[in-house]
Symmetry: C2
Subunit: 117 residues, 2 copies
């Protein structure tokens, strides 16, 4: 089966986790396609100045793979600049957030898998 | 935690599933980081003419998200051209393969999650 990203309706998350503006999230897997292993596999994008507020993961972990743009990433207490090719890890119990500090859209793959046995 | 893709050693898979040439796979998660939920989350690339042979998934499913290049994708019996933004799904019990039919590297995100309860 093949889907084309442009044909998948993006989910718009306003002030996501208390961030500025909104995040557009294109789900590559629907909720019932994870077989209970996780809850997010998506292409997320933030316009310049928009952000994902800092939040803590509990019962799951998240990986971002940055595709394009420039971000200021909050890495469990430390702010770090990120760009295409960077991979971020927020393990169960850790927190993270992201601000688009560049001039173009910041785009990333996001994967959230559960940590239960 | 942050890793930079260029610092993660690629795994070179020669004649992957009987394909031509080799596939370079940069693992974004190590085996012990999946919490038992899956076994592949990687950036895979094929040089022009190189391929992944057709193979069947059993006990798991795989999603490709095409990042760049042009491929001829074998979608469980049907050959389809794919390019950046296309998302392919190989559910448990289905088969797939991929040939780079373009002039540049074909790059894709690959995710394999288990289907067990």
């Amino acid at each position: 089966m093949i889907r084309h990203k442009a044909q998948i309706p993006p989910v718009i998350r306003e002030q996501f986790w208390g961030g500025e503006g909104s995040m557009a999230s294109v789900p590559l897997l629907a909720d019932d396609e994870f077989h209970g292993k996780g809850r997010v596999f998506a292409v997320n994008s933030l316009k310049p100045g928009h952000s994902i507020g800092v939040h803590t993961h509990k019962g799951d972990f998240e990986v971002y793979y940055i595709l394009k743009g420039e971000g200021l990433y909050h890495d469990n207490g430390v702010d770090v600049r990120v760009k295409a090719g960077d991979v971020t890890y927020t393990w169960d119990g850790q927190c993270h957030g992201m601000i688009n500090v560049g001039a173009e859209d910041l785009e990333m793959i996001a994967l959230v898998l559960f940590t239960n046995a």
